[in-house]
Symmetry: C2
Subunit: 467 residues, 2 copies
């Protein structure tokens, strides 16, 4: 296995393959097959997404995949931003279609003609919907499973509000939802308002959600956008207010993709394989019988008892009773990153305990067999907290303040002064090869000066090499 | 509202719209928007499908949507069967693609090149996978929500086996799975082996799963196929057996679509709207407070208590505490087909009961407030059984034995003698305008003679007008 520190790119591909997350041998580059274990992880994440959006009064919907070209082209910035990277359906059966159809890269232009029919009065607002679907981008850069693919599994929420302020409140709610989802996956992130030249095509402003990967690069896992009325005007989404005026709605969107899986591989994995956060691990605890001739029956019975108890308590447990050596079973489940391994042998039985192994720290210990459910539950909690704390620390250590253009470290996220003007921004990006990720969504105390023009500034900018 | 008996087509469209199941105003004909209530029903069904396939050791996967033309064309019958009705992606960004891509109509040709890599030895068999995805058919006939659409939500299971017999055993398992899913939706169905000219392109044989709709036509809800080695030979899916021979695998598939939703609307709905089978109703019981000035507080408290108890017991319950008249609430939930309505007013409180209304039979009664959970649970069970029994009876009454070509009823499923030869089959179809659905998968005792040539036959054939 390649080592994570030495060769991140190969290590990553190796884990994706060995842990059975996806198969990239499908005959279209960048369109991969979700194999069972990878898909189970994605579905765990989707489950939390549904829970969160349902709990915040979003309705789940499912819009068509294909969008007529005329609908797609209504918002000028949007089409300009996407027309290099969409797939086109031009024929059906043996006929050429009257109008070409875009395979959705995102669903603004599929949804908004319908929103225009759905929204009539202020009583229809807020309109809050989401969907979990496949989207498509014709990537020309090198593809990489979960991180840069051409068919993307993602969720997108779309909302309409009476005022700019109410849309802004929605963004605050999105940020709370994000915090809860990221905690389940133990992923740290930054919230940065993207530069004008990097915002979503058509957005008023874009908040990028980035995490940092072991090779020092950042990975954008998702984004939140405030559209104001940029789409509602061309798509004619108007409501009648209480005094009879017709006004365009203010809109937001929030989306994250399968990059969450890419992020968790990179952030948590180690040289033995995947390390799964307990919150989304398809298997949270695997039970391995350590069978000797004398103890076979008692060990099997105890393993069955533990499995039944754990499952009954809602813990995702699995008994590995394959006819194979324990060592080879350990190896399999370590690659798949199962958070807790439980071993039951003759000596454990004698001592009234179950041996455990923590995948994240590789620590071993025992749990009283009587307290197996609270014991495993506590262990899972401790692992989650410890994975989160470790990931936070690593992320923090990757951010470096710089106050001059000399000796810029190549493998850090830079925090520095930028006056905010496009000239200085482009000059910085072009000179140093970093991409400006933006300025903090949540204000940070800062005193410095623009790294290009020297003007004093009171908020920092962030830049990094990106995945 | 149009009446079901008088004008089924209009009644159907009206229910789809009024119950909020889908919106057909999307600007591409036959590609509809799943609105929240319709999508919730589909997701309940998907949930059972996952339960069933997971419990029978199928792994869930997710394959790419697009298929290169060369992969698609490997099995000759298959491509011949589909080339009139697939969508083609020909361009990406501003480039014409080197090879055209098919938007999947079904996933044999996406999956089997990968199966060829996955299957090596008899130890890899059986291979059993399924996926729940969107598929596409360029329908030229008139479209109708859920029944004839161009983007289809469906599940497909695909299996590989060592022998023809083991594949046959899989079909028996599929039939058991089907029985359990159909029972949740209270849908009767027939299992008929399709004629040679109507089987799935590439199949050895096809079992059609049909139900009958109120207009007398049958609706195919899904199908099960035995492929033998028809795909594994061209797609090179071989395994090494215990003696070192390389042999092609025997394959099966099983698929059902959103037509299940179309079927349940047609089979169960009435002139007041949808009637939801409790097993898949997004809301199984709706609680309506009957508030008077004096009792407001107590009624609210009792409704909250009932909601908490029902939800705690895993019953999908909802409290409708909108500021509206009870009558307009009744109307809304009747259209949506909620199986049980619970009403709580001052008199109910006095009597220590909760009033109920059954959507399916419109019967009313009371449940002791103390026994609300077992009471509602029993009511839901009774409703399920009664909906199933009623639907079975209707289905049975729609099948008619005919022994001569005179006075053939137009609104029935015909059961008749057919010698099985293609000539007589085509002659029957062409002369009478019925479609032969096939012969029973499970043998039925029968003595008769071919309706065309008069030869004696010992199994019946079925024919109908189809949706």
């Amino acid at each position: 296995m390649p080592m994570k520190e030495d060769d991140f790119a190969d290590w990553y591909l190796d884990i994706v393959e060995k842990a059975g997350l996806s198969d990239k041998r499908y005959p279209i580059k960048g369109m991969n097959v979700w194999t069972p274990y990878g898909w189970k992880i994605m579905r765990q994440i989707d489950g939390y997404i549904r829970e969160e959006f349902d709990a915040t009064d979003h309705d789940e919907v499912c819009f068509p995949l294909l969008i007529p070209e005329t609908q797609f082209a209504k918002e000028k910035e949007h089409i300009k931003g996407f027309d290099e990277e969409v797939y086109w359906v031009t024929h059906a059966g043996k006929n050429e279609l009257d109008e070409r159809l875009v395979v959705r890269p995102t669903s603004e232009t599929a949804m908004y003609p319908m929103f225009s029919l759905w929204v009539r009065s202020h009583q229809d607002l807020p309109l809050k919907v989401y969907q979990i679907v496949n989207t498509f981008r014709y990537e020309t850069k090198q593809t990489r499973p979960f991180i840069r693919v051409r068919e993307i599994h993602f969720f997108e929420s779309h909302t309409c509000h009476e005022t700019c302020e109410k849309a802004q409140d929605q963004i605050e709610e999105d940020i709370q939802i994000l915090a809860r989802i990221a905690k389940k996956i133990c992923l740290p992130y930054t919230l940065l308002i993207r530069t004008e030249w990097d915002k979503f095509p058509g957005a008023h402003y874009t908040v990028g959600i980035d995490t940092s990967m072991p090779n020092g690069r950042t990975l954008q896992m998702g984004s939140i956008h405030h559209y104001r009325t940029n789409f509602s005007v061309p798509y004619d989404i108007e409501y009648e207010n209480e005094t009879g005026e017709h006004l365009p709605v203010h809109q937001t969107t929030f989306g994250m993709s399968e990059r969450l899986v890419g992020a968790l591989i990179g952030v948590h994995g180690d040289d033995k394989g995947l390390v799964m956060p307990p919150g989304i691990a398809p298997i949270q605890a695997v039970i391995i019988p350590i069978i000797s001739k004398k103890s076979a029956e008692e060990v099997s019975a105890e393993c069955a008892r533990i499995l039944r108890l754990l499952k009954g308590a809602g813990i995702r447990a699995k008994l590995d009773d394959r006819d194979a050596r324990p060592g080879s079973k350990y190896y399999d489940w370590e690659i798949k990153g199962v958070p807790v391994r439980l071993e039951v042998g003759a000596r454990d039985l004698e001592n009234g305990v179950v041996s455990f192994y923590r995948r994240d720290t590789e620590e071993k210990g025992t749990i009283s067999a009587e307290d197996i459910v609270p014991g495993v539950r506590m262990l899972l909690d401790v692992i989650s907290e410890s994975m989160m704390a470790k990931a936070n620390e690593v992320q923090k250590s990757r951010i470096q303040d710089i106050d001059s253009a000399e000796n810029i470290p190549q493998d850090k996220i830079l925090r520095f002064g930028w006056c905010g003007c496009e000239d200085c921004g482009h000059k910085f990006e072009d000179t140093y090869g970093f991409k400006i990720l933006g300025t903090p969504y949540h204000p940070e105390p800062y005193q410095g000066s623009c790294i290009i023009c020297g003007k004093p500034v009171d908020k920092p900018a962030y830049a990094a090499h990106t995945m």
